[in-house]
């Protein structure tokens, strides 16, 4: 099965949307090869069960609350990831923890996980990341690219970023 890069979060709640923003940024900067799936999981839960089931590798990007100061980035691997969600540290505990619990029961839990989590500055109502969080987003984008390279997938940059100023390939 293809590697899944899954960003989750609510883009209406400022930094809570970091996972989705990282996925958007990856699409803006890089050509996404057929060998990986990259997905904006938004605020969903059970709808993601089919997309997660039986994956060999899942790279998850999410806002997390660990007690560490805002702006802290955490990396977790493999069984640490389902364990994290089991102890309900992420604000997305409800959706994703249910899905992972269910995949454990059906025997379809992904084999390997990488989680890049960032502690938010603000979860107020706003569609923009807080200013302080922009470098954190860039940092996580780089970490995802590095991780994918370790897993044998090298991303190539677009000649120009695909943004709303340059919407030629915004379609997907």
């Amino acid at each position: 099965m293809k590697i899944l890069v899954l960003g989750i979060g609510n883009i209406l709640l400022t930094d809570e949307g970091i996972g989705v923003r990282v996925v958007e940024r990856l699409r803006e900067l890089y050509m996404i090869p057929d060998s990986i799936d990259i997905m904006d999981g938004g605020t969903a839960g059970m709808e993601l069960s089919g997309d997660l089931a039986n994956r060999e590798q899942v790279i998850l990007i999410d806002a997390v609350k660990t007690g560490a100061p805002a702006g802290t980035v955490v990396e977790l691997y493999d069984e640490q990831v389902p364990n994290l969600f089991r102890t309900h540290i992420s604000p997305h505990q409800l959706g994703i923890s249910d899905v992972l619990g269910i995949l454990r029961i059906t025997g379809e839990l992904p084999k390997h996980f990488t989680l890049f989590g960032a502690v938010p500055y603000s979860i107020d109502t706003s569609t923009e990341l807080s200013v302080e969080f922009h470098p954190i987003m860039d940092d996580i984008v780089q970490r995802v690219v590095t991780r994918l390279a370790q897993l044998g997938v090298n991303l190539t940059r677009h000649l120009q970023p695909i943004t709303s100023d340059n919407p030629t390939r915004m379609a997907s």
């Binding site: 609510n10 883009i11 209406l12 709640l13 904006d40 999981g41 938004g42 605020t43 969903a44 839960g45 059970m46 709808e47 993601l48 069960s49 089919g50 997305h92 409800l94 959706g95 249910d98 619990g101 269910i102 454990r104 029961i105 059906t106 109502t125 706003s126 569609t127």
Partner: protein
């Protein structure tokens, strides 16, 4: 001795929902439903292009994504008095059916069945007896001894490994759990099978919507699906046939497992047909538009008073004045400035937080009313309105469930049993069967319409100068959803979403009448205030999009017991 029990469930996005009940002599005597968080998410779309609103509103809630997108585009179309191509209506109808079926199946099996089903008890079942029982009432192919034995072994291995996982927090062995081990085993098997089936429903949404969890094919004026039955890359016959094959599997499960399971659970918990009625004024809106203007619908909606079906008054179009004039929201008991009940187009949201006051303000949720009175919304309201309008499919499936319950319980159970906690579950299953049947019709209508050479899916919206007001409503899985928009010179001036959970979970209104959750909880039994399973049963029967953390406050001792609930 009166005990105060606080049930403090957590919703993902719309805010925490907290339920307080006072328990006296083993019964609920007072109840408060309180939204604990203010987000003001509607403010995000003010000032924006109305054509973009749906993409934001579908992220309001983690569970009900598609529904907010649909209500939003309908609101703008209504404000612009636009018509929508028939293909677009039919594609929307297919998508909203698949979304609702996904939602209903997940709600019954994965979010609420464990209020009634004791998974651990299933280990004591005799798989042979269980299989005989299941096959005596259903032709579902996965009720065999072999299948049930495998499920039991799987459960045993979870228990042996000490890893019950998502089953770990159930009220196993609670005195209010009454199903025989064999029924628990059947339910456990269908719980697992439903995990597969819900993916089929979701696949249909994905194929039509371009992607999930957030669809991208909606647009003000129609849908962006291109239709060409012979092309490889767009909506073609191959995709439509694949959708039909997924529908066949869903149909089999809904009619042979879900409807039957609801009847078996209902027959074993018949006393719960006597609890949880609450507000019996019911509101639903018509759904599945069959014409460009939204004046003909496959599923009627309307208003019923005092649970009396003869009072049914239909809501007949997207411009229905009876609906549009009837909706107001009160802030008397909500943490906002109160200038009397206001129509959503005039809605105000000036925060005025006071702390939790039993007789005063205690919620961030406003209290919606229909002509000044609270109304219950959801599948029960929907099914009752369908029945009142003589909808053949709704009557057929309702009778099937009631007859099966009657035969299993050995006593005649009539339509009146639906006004209850267990009745809301039965109605949700009936609605699923109705949606399933209607979804087949919609599929055929779409194929037929395309066959006439009509491939149009989009009408261009035009924004005139000045002010336009619109409402978009949708009979969503949790009931009546309405988005109210005011547009000025092509930009959004005011936007209010009156969501199903607001109707049902709202606090006391301007006349101090309780909302549907609050009224439904009164007189519910509570065997053990430390494990208020019965309170959860009634709240969950409304399908709030929440998971719950339970806090029990003993006012005598002032101690807090925390219990996790599913």
């Amino acid at each position: 001795m009166t005990k105060r029990v606080i049930v403090d469930p957590v919703t993902r996005i719309e805010g925490h929902l907290r339920i307080d009940v006072e328990v006296d002599n083993g019964k609920v005597t007072k109840a408060w439903s309180s939204g604990q968080m203010w987000r003001g998410i509607e403010q995000i779309v003010v000032g924006r292009d109305p054509r973009d609103a749906w993409a934001f509103t579908q992220r309001i809630c983690g569970v009900c994504t598609t529904v907010h997108a649909l209500a939003s585009v309908r609101a703008v179309e209504n404000a612009l008095k636009m018509e929508v191509p028939l293909n677009a209506q039919l594609i929307r109808n297919l998508m909203l059916s698949a979304h609702a079926l996904h939602d209903h199946i997940v709600h019954f099996y994965h979010l609420s069945a464990l209020d009634w089903v004791d998974i651990v008890s299933a280990l004591q079942a005799d798989p042979k007896k269980a299989s005989q029982l299941a096959e005596s009432v259903s032709s579902w192919s996965l009720n065999g001894v072999h299948e049930l034995t495998q499920v039991q072994q799987k459960l045993q291995s979870f228990v042996d490994s000490g890893q019950l996982g998502i089953f770990a927090n159930g009220y196993w062995g609670h005195s209010a759990m009454k199903l025989p081990p064999e029924v628990n085993l059947i339910a456990a098997a269908h719980y697992l099978q439903a995990l597969e089936i819900q993916r089929d429903a979701n696949k249909i949404v994905t194929i039509l919507g371009g992607k999930t969890p957030h669809v991208q094919n909606l647009t003000v004026g129609g849908v962006t699906n291109s239709i060409n039955l012979d092309s490889q890359s767009v909506m073609n016959m191959e995709r439509l046939t694949y959708i039909l094959s997924l529908m066949d599997r869903l149909d089999d499960f809904i009619n042979n497992a879900y409807l039957v399971d609801v009847a078996i659970v209902g027959a074993n918990y018949l006393e719960w047909a006597g609890y949880g009625a609450g507000i019996t004024d019911y509101l639903s809106v018509p759904e599945m538009a069959l014409d460009n203007a939204g004046t003909k619908f496959a599923l009627p909606g309307g208003y019923i008073q005092n649970g009396d079906l003869s009072t049914f008054k239909p809501i007949t179009s997207f411009n229905d004045e009876f609906f549009i004039r009837g909706v107001h929201e009160s802030s008397k008991h909500s943490w906002y400035e109160d200038s009397g009940p206001l129509h959503p187009w005039k809605g105000e949201t000036q925060p005025n937080y006071t702390d939790f006051q039993d007789e005063g303000k205690y919620s961030w949720i406003k209290s919606p009313t229909f002509y000044g009175k609270p109304a219950q919304v959801g599948p029960l309201a929907n099914v009752l309105c369908l029945a009142a309008s003589g909808h053949v499919s709704a009557l057929k499936h309702t009778n099937f469930v009631l007859d099966t319950v009657s035969s299993l319980a050995g006593t005649k159970v009539g339509l009146g049993a639906l006004h209850s906690t267990i009745g809301r579950h039965a109605a949700r299953a009936v609605r699923s069967a109705v949606l399933m049947e209607e979804m087949r019709n919609q599929w055929q209508l779409l194929v037929n319409n395309i066959a006439t050479g009509d491939t149009k899916t989009f009408n261009q919206p035009v924004f005139p100068k000045g002010i336009q007001e619109g409402v978009g409503f949708h009979e969503a899985p949790r009931g009546v959803l309405s988005h109210w928009i005011v547009i000025e010179d092509g930009k959004i001036k005011n936007y209010q979403a009156v969501v199903p959970s607001t109707w049902n979970a709202g606090p006391r209104n301007d006349n101090d009448e309780p909302g549907p959750y609050e009224a439904a909880l009164l007189d519910n039994p509570v065997a053990d205030p430390e494990k208020p399973l019965e309170v959860l049963r009634t709240v969950h029967s409304f399908d709030p999009c929440i998971a719950c953390a339970i806090h029990m406050v003993d006012t005598e001792e002032n101690e807090i017991v925390k219990v996790r609930a599913l």
